[in-house]
């Protein structure tokens, strides 16, 4: 069951330009969290911003203290306010919320596809896959430029093979992650079965979804959406799903997601 906790800031590290790693102590949330779930953080004190901000649970730290980490990027007022929270301040934290990833079945190779700050959801998944003794995943990670690629150390330390892409070509393949994903899916000798786990901006998810459906590879997408409440009551965060005879169907990203099967949603 989710809880609402005034979570103390234990650490707050800068990870290069505009990226931060926030460590919060919230045992009740840490205990229940699963990879792919999120929390709603109240970034400031007053009404600017008014609403909480959804953030993936990046990691649950080992140990009894019940600490979680949030990896985020400043994109506006809320994330800027959050970045100003000093160690010792408390951040109202509601969670864990939503449905996490389904772990790939045994013998399946997980392909993690991250775009930009979408990387934040994957450390937890990597640890969950390891804990469940699943095959080592491959990480395909794209960002605007080299300096926007963060948390590489985490994956390197866990021997996760990485294929990087940058839009400006400052590191790895020049272009989008699909330039790496496509040849992988096209290979006749693909080897063991694979399953894609993707998180990133909607245009990226759209592209990954199409490629995965085209290749018949199972694919889970972690969606983003504007989330006023995060707990399923406002009906504001919906995503369009394949219509039935009565017209379009909408599902709540916070409650039925944020992870959906590629075939479940229309992007």
């Amino acid at each position: 069951m989710p809880s609402d906790i005034a979570a103390p800031v234990i650490r707050h590290d800068v990870l290069g330009r505009d990226h931060f790693l926030l460590t919060l102590e919230c045992p009740a949330i840490a205990r229940e969290a699963r990879a792919g779930q999120f929390v709603m953080l109240r970034a400031g004190r007053g009404f600017q911003p008014l609403l909480r901000r959804p953030m993936s649970i990046c990691r649950v730290l080992p140990g009894r203290r019940g600490r979680i980490q949030i990896l985020y990027k400043i994109v506006g007022e809320g994330t800027r306010c959050l970045s100003q929270q000093p160690v010792g301040a408390t951040v109202p934290t509601l969670g864990p919320l939503g449905n996490g990833f389904r772990l790939a079945p045994d013998g399946t190779r997980p392909i993690l596809v991250a775009g930009g700050i979408g990387i934040a959801i994957f450390p937890f998944l990597v640890e969950a896959l390891r804990a469940a003794r699943r095959a080592t995943p491959l990480l395909i990670y794209g960002a605007r430029a080299n300096r926007d690629l963060v948390a590489l150390d985490f994956f390197r330390a866990r021997d996760v093979p990485m294929r990087l892409a940058t839009e400006d070509g400052s590191r790895g393949t020049k272009g989008f992650v699909t330039r790496i994903l496509e040849p992988l899916l096209a290979r006749k000798d693909r080897g063991p079965r694979m399953e894609i786990f993707a998180c990133g901006p909607t245009p990226m998810l759209k592209a990954v979804r199409e490629r995965a459906l085209g290749a018949g590879v199972p694919c889970q997408l972690a969606l983003e959406s504007q989330m006023p409440c995060g707990i399923g009551v406002c009906l504001g965060c919906v995503v369009g799903c394949p219509p039935d005879e009565r017209g379009p169907i909408f599902r709540r990203v916070c409650a039925e997601g944020p992870v959906f099967g590629a075939e479940e949603v229309v992007l």
């Binding site: 009404f47 609403l51 006023p228 406002c234 504001g236 379009p248």
Partner: protein
């Protein structure tokens, strides 16, 4: 706690008589009456911000609330508008959910039974695209076990009147309220006014003439947001309803006006986020208040308000919270001035 509202008027401050022997902390009577509807305290969760009640069970005890209003119910289930449906604005938010809901039948068969003995007043919010739909939903809810009252949402577009909201036309308000009154004679009838009208008191009087027991106000203000980069409206629906602290002064004035002009019990709302806000609405004439957007950014905020109101009353020497309603002190001899500037 911030102190913004004035202390209670002197005349209403009761002398605390200590019981013989040791002094006893007096409980504050939080119960309030809205016409035929009695609530255990003046905080009610607003329609569209509290689901069907059960979603908040992880966070609060429903018994601590005066009541809650369900998401608006229509005759058939509705799926609502395409996304994006919401957008944050300074100290507020716009929503264009499109009145998505499970429909009155699923509410009665699935949602209401799960709430049996929840220990708080359950108020069903009703809307329709035609007067017949309002009547049909109300008739279906009349006599449903466990329902405390109906709240009629008059902000819904009237498909027979070119999509203009029912609530903007006083004759239409009178008619639809009277029809619902006949269809659901057993339940207290709250009529929720739209603020998107020149004088909300005129609509309030029409609702009274139609047979409303209580007036609730305000629903959201029409507004929009534009994305300069794409040069498109942010909401797929183009227009949405503004709620949250941004609308509080507008709502407070409308409550004041309706309380003075109409003569029905008022259930006020609009941007309430702390006990002081709620108490200000009560001074302006609200018998009880609803909290909406607060439930989104602070899911336990509603019950916190109940505790804070009790504490405020105790420190201000107010023995019964209902004594505060309408005790606003107006400047003597000055006629109400509608102009600003």
């Amino acid at each position: 706690m911030r102190r913004r509202a004035d202390r209670a008027p002197r005349g209403t401050v009761p002398r605390v008589r200590a019981a013989a022997g040791r002094p006893r902390k007096r409980g504050v009577d939080l119960s309030v009456d809205l016409g035929p509807l009695r609530l255990k305290n003046p905080i009610v969760a607003a329609s569209g911000t509290f689901g069907y009640g059960t979603d908040f069970l992880p966070y609060l005890d429903l018994r601590d609330l005066g009541g809650f209003v369900t998401k608006g119910l229509s005759l058939l289930p509705r799926r609502g508008n395409a996304p994006p449906r919401t957008c944050e604005t300074p100290s507020g938010m716009l929503n264009a959910i499109g009145l998505a809901n499970v429909g009155v039948e699923a509410f009665l068969s699935e949602k209401l039974p799960a709430l049996r003995d929840c220990g708080t007043a359950i108020i069903a919010n009703v809307f329709g695209e035609t007067q017949e739909e309002y009547v049909a939903v109300a008739r279906r809810l009349n006599g449903a076990p466990g329902l405390a009252a109906l709240e009629l949402n008059l902000s819904c577009p009237n498909t027979e009147k070119g999509g203009l909201a029912f609530g903007v036309s006083p004759p239409v308000v009178r008619q639809v309220v009277a029809a619902v009154r006949r269809a659901a004679p057993d339940l207290p009838l709250i009529v929720k006014l739209t603020p998107n009208i020149t004088d909300v008191a005129v609509a309030g009087s029409a609702a009274r003439e139609g047979g409303a027991d209580v007036l609730s106000l305000v629903n959201t203000f029409l507004g929009m947001a534009i994305d300069l980069e794409t040069r498109r409206p942010v909401l797929d629906n183009v227009v949405g309803g503004l709620s949250g602290p941004a609308i509080k002064p507008l709502a407070l004035y409308m409550v004041h006006r309706v309380y003075r002009e109409v003569g029905l019990p008022v259930l006020g709302m609009g941007g309430i986020s702390c006990a002081e806000d709620a108490l200000e609405f009560m001074l302006a004439g609200s018998a009880a208040v609803q909290v909406g957007t607060l439930n989104f950014f602070d899911p336990t905020g509603s019950v916190r308000l109940v505790r804070e109101i009790e504490a405020w009353c105790r420190s201000a020497g107010v023995r019964a919270v209902r004594d505060l309603t309408g005790t606003l002190r107006l400047p003597a001899g000055r006629p109400p001035a509608p102009c600003s500037g």
